[in-house]
Each structure stands twice: as structure tokens, then as C-alpha cells.
């Protein structure tokens, strides 16, 4: 186990609209988190794994009528730092990667847009409330990287490819809610 120091600082801005048919908020966070750990990165400062320089969220909700509501959500987060190969060399018949300093590279940025439509059915006397919700996650089908691996190309052994693993494509969902 290695024990080190971490430093984190930043700025948050948050605007919230609560009245009217259109409600929602916009938030922005600028932050930087660094670490110094003896024995890692030659003791030099490096970015923490969870360092996210910019983080934006926009959430809007619009009441079209008393029962009918439309909402949307957009998030944007700077990609996480990662250690990446910046070069390669040959040594005794083998190709060997040269890596950046610890967390010297960056994953692609993460962003996503979701929308939802809610419809409340009319309340009945026995307090039974129910409604239907249709939502679409990741509307514009952004392929957000979960991990990036550097692998040998299948056709050319001298070539390295960046292979991205992503998790969720577009996800439509239909939900029926009731409470009593």
C-alpha cells in the first residue's frame, strides 16, 4: 500500500428555475484533483483517476398541460485521465511500448442527451394515481468509452489499435406507474 497526498479544488455554478411551466437547472463544475504519491510517477504530481475538469448538466422540464410533461437532460463530462502509450521501440526482437507519465492521457469526453414524456391519467376517487412515462436514454447514440485498450491489429502484427469498450447505446423505455 502506498500513502500519498491528494489536492482538489474547483468552482461550482448552479442556476435553478423553480417557478412557471418551464423548470430546471444548469450546473457547471470546474475542478482539478491531483495526487503526489512517493514511488508513483517518480514522485511527481499527477492527475487523479477521478479528475474531471469540466462537468456540465442541463436539466429542463416543461409542463405542457396539467397532466402532460416533457423533460430533457444533457450531461457533459471531460474524459477521465488515463496512462497511454505514446511510442514504441524494438528491443531484442520485441516491440515495447513507451507510456506517458501516470494519467498523462485522457479518455474521450463523455456526453449524453436523454428525453422523457410523462402523462398522468386522471385521478379517480379511490386515490389511485397512475401515469405513463416514455423515455429515451442517449438519444443521439453517443458511444461513450468505458475503457480503452491498446491491442495488436488483427491483420498487421506491427500495428496497434485503440479499442474502445462502450456500454449503453440508445435505450428507449416505457413505464407505467401507479400509487395508492
Amino acid at each position: 500500500m502506498r500513502i500519498g497526498d491528494a489536492k482538489s479544488y474547483g468552482l461550482e455554478v448552479y442556476i435553478h428555475k423553480q417557478k412557471g411551466n418551464l423548470t430546471g437547472w444548469i450546473s457547471y463544475t470546474l475542478s482539478k484533483t491531483t495526487k503526489v504519491t512517493p514511488g508513483i510517477n517518480f514522485g511527481n504530481t499527477y492527475l487523479a483517476n477521478h479528475d474531471r475538469r469540466h462537468n456540465v448538466a442541463i436539466v429542463l422540464s416543461y409542463d405542457v398541460s396539467e397532466r402532460f410533461n416533457v423533460s430533457a437532460n444533457w450531461v457533459y463530462v471531460t474524459g477521465a485521465p488515463m496512462t497511454v502509450p505514446v511510442g514504441k521501440y524494438e528491443y531484442q526482437g520485441q516491440i515495447i511500448n513507451i507510456y506517458s507519465e501516470r494519467n498523462g492521457g485522457k479518455m474521450p469526453d463523455y456526453h449524453r442527451f436523454d428525453v422523457a414524456i410523462n402523462y398522468d391519467f386522471k385521478k379517480v376517487k379511490n386515490k389511485f394515481e397512475h401515469g405513463i412515462n416514455f423515455s429515451v436514454y442517449n438519444v443521439y447514440r453517443r458511444k461513450n468509452a468505458y475503457a480503452i485498450n491498446f491491442v495488436q491489429d488483427e491483420d498487421n502484427a506491427n500495428k496497434v489499435d485503440a479499442k474502445m469498450t462502450y456500454l449503453f447505446d440508445i435505450i428507449p423505455a416505457l413505464t407505467y406507474n401507479f400509487k395508492f
Binding site: K88, N156, K163, T165, L174
Partner: protein
């Protein structure tokens, strides 16, 4: 309990984990000098190979470094290497290293000077070496030849070894991934008879009617760490891996690779044949063997 919410969901998930080859900007780094250099106690032309690093996504081989000045020296001798082919520099063929001396490598390439220092440590003699087919019924060995060695490990911790194998004088373990290495942490000062040092894929060699040779080299702790780091690097790829890091180097000024100084001990291997009952044929072993291994054979393979 105030309210209960029951949510019935009808969810269509088109999602699953997918992979895709992407364009990925890792940032360009300037070419870095990579050094593959060695001085040994053998009298021969010693070779230094220089190349420059390239972008990781480049599908060409890294470019060779031509026109560099390369010097290997100890307290007594200074050897200037000549470029025999692009990127390959050699000493005269009368050059050898001496046990116990410090060797300095100096490279002048593109107005930069790179140096490395390595102590040439002595290696013990291989007393006997045996090549035999691994027991395919055991969990540990597949379809491989195993090499057993008899030797006296010198007293005192901090000895590191590397093993190569030759078939009719040709180095078969010629890439770094094929080399075997170890240290004396658990075997310091021991007299071995039959320690397993090398595994050879049966497709790589054909020991019938060939001279098989085992070579043992002394290496430094630094080079041992370098080999270990390369091996760890090879087995990466799981999502639970820690971040990668560069293997250590003994070169200065930002160069990568390693300058090795090694003492060499070689021994022809006794190839062990088994009869159909799985028993070793002792007479046949001795015929293929160097002199003086009869006792070791009797000890290891005698019934």
C-alpha cells in the same frame, strides 16, 4: 410507511457492451533513443543496436539510428564501435569483458550524449544440463521440453540469472519473450541437481541428433527488473489491471532499453530419452552427454 410505489416497467434494452476500434489521440512524443547493448565475457564482436521510438499507431518498424558514435569502456580498455549496417554497431571481434569490472556505454547521437554503467558479475559453472520431454500428464507441463540444470549457486544474495538455449550452435531463444530468468532469493548457496530452468515449446526445437546447448548468464538486478516489467506488460488487458508503467532502464538522458554486462557459462545438454514404459534410458543419456555427468544422471534418473 406512508406510501408505496410500485413501478411496473416495460423496458426495451438494446444495449450491450460493444467494442470498436477508434481513432485515439495519444499526443505525439519526440523520438526516443532505444538501446539494445551487451558486453559479455565471450571473445567476439559485441553488438549495439540503436533505434528510435515511433508513434504507437505506426505500423512500420521503428527507424534505425545511423551515424552515431558508440563507445564501450572499462578502466583498462576503450572500444570504439563501428557501424556495420544501419543502426548496428560492433566492436572488433577480439573484444571481451572481464568479471568484476564496471562497463560504461557512451552513445553520441544527434548531438545528445547517453550513458549507461553496468557491473559485469561472475556467473557459476553449469555442471550438467538435461533436456527431456515434460510429463504431459502433470498439471504443470504441456507439450514442452524441460531443461534441468545442476550447479552450485554461490553464497550471498543478489545473484540474477538468464538462460538461453541453442540448437546446433544457433540461438533459438533469440527474442526477449523466449528468455528465462531468475534470482537466488530462495536458493542462495544451494547445490542443485536438476533444477528446472527452461521450458521449450516442442515446435521450436528438434533435439534428435542435434547438439543442444544451455547458456547461463549473470545479469544485474536492474536488468532482472527490466525483464520482470516486460513480462508483466505482456499479461495486461484485464479491466482490473493497474495503470501501465515504463520498464526501468540504466540509460541516462531519457533513452530507453538496457545495456547488459554478463558473464557466460555454457554446457551441452544431455538429451534424455524414455523407453515405452516411461523410464529414462540411462545408457542413451550418457552417450549424448558432456563428460562428468554420470553421477548426476544416476541421482536424477536412476531407479
Amino acid at each position: 410507511m406512508k406510501k408505496y410505489y410500485y413501478i411496473l416497467g416495460f423496458i426495451i434494452i438494446l444495449a450491450s457492451s460493444c467494442t470498436e476500434i477508434i481513432e485515439f489521440d495519444v499526443g505525439e512524443s519526440d523520438p526516443i533513443l532505444a538501446v539494445d547493448a551487451e558486453i559479455t565475457t565471450e571473445r567476439k564482436a559485441h553488438r549495439v543496436k540503436l533505434n528510435y521510438s515511433t508513434s504507437v499507431f505506426d505500423d512500420e518498424n521503428p527507424p534505425l539510428v545511423t551515424g552515431a558514435s558508440v563507445i564501450i569502456e572499462d578502466d583498462v580498455h576503450l572500444h570504439i564501435l563501428t557501424e556495420v549496417e544501419p543502426g548496428i554497431y560492433e566492436t572488433l571481434d577480439t573484444v571481451r569483458g572481464y568479471e568484476g569490472r564496471d562497463y560504461n556505454l557512451t552513445i553520441l547521437a544527434d548531438d545528445n550524449t547517453y550513458t549507461a554503467t553496468e557491473t559485469l558479475k561472475p556467473v557459476g559453472e553449469i555442471e550438467c544440463a538435461f533436456l527431456l520431454k515434460g510429463d504431459t500428464s502433470s498439471l504443470f507441463f504441456g507439450d514442452e521440453y524441460i531443461v534441468l540444470m545442476s550447479a552450485q549457486e554461490p553464497e550471498g544474495l543478489g545473484d540474477y540469472y538468464l538462460w538461453n538455449y541453442y540448437e546446433d550452435g544457433v540461438l533459438i531463444s533469440d527474442t526477449i519473450g523466449e528468455k528465462f530468468y531468475g534470482d537466488d532469493e530462495f536458493v542462495d548457496g544451494t547445490n542443485f541437481n536438476g533444477v528446472l530452468v527452461v521450458l521449450i515449446d516442442t515446435e521450436k526445437v528438434d533435439p534428435v541428433n542435434k547438439t543442444m546447448m544451455l547458456e547461463m548468464k549473470s545479469i544485474s538486478e536492474g536488468y532482472y527488473d527490466y525483464l520482470l516489467a516486460l513480462q508483466l506488460e505482456k499479461f495486461r488487458g484485464s479491466p482490473f489491471d493497474g495503470p501501465p508503467a515504463n520498464p526501468p532502464t540504466n540509460l541516462s538522458n531519457g533513452a530507453v532499453g538496457f545495456f547488459r554486462a554478463t558473464d557466460v557459462s555454457q554446457k551441452n545438454m544431455c538429451v534424455v530419452f524414455f523407453n515405452e514404459n516411461g523410464e529414462p534410458n540411462i545408457d542413451l543419456i550418457i552417450q549424448t552427454c558432456d563428460f562428468g555427468c554420470a553421477d548426476a544422471i544416476e541421482d536424477l534418473f536412476g531407479q
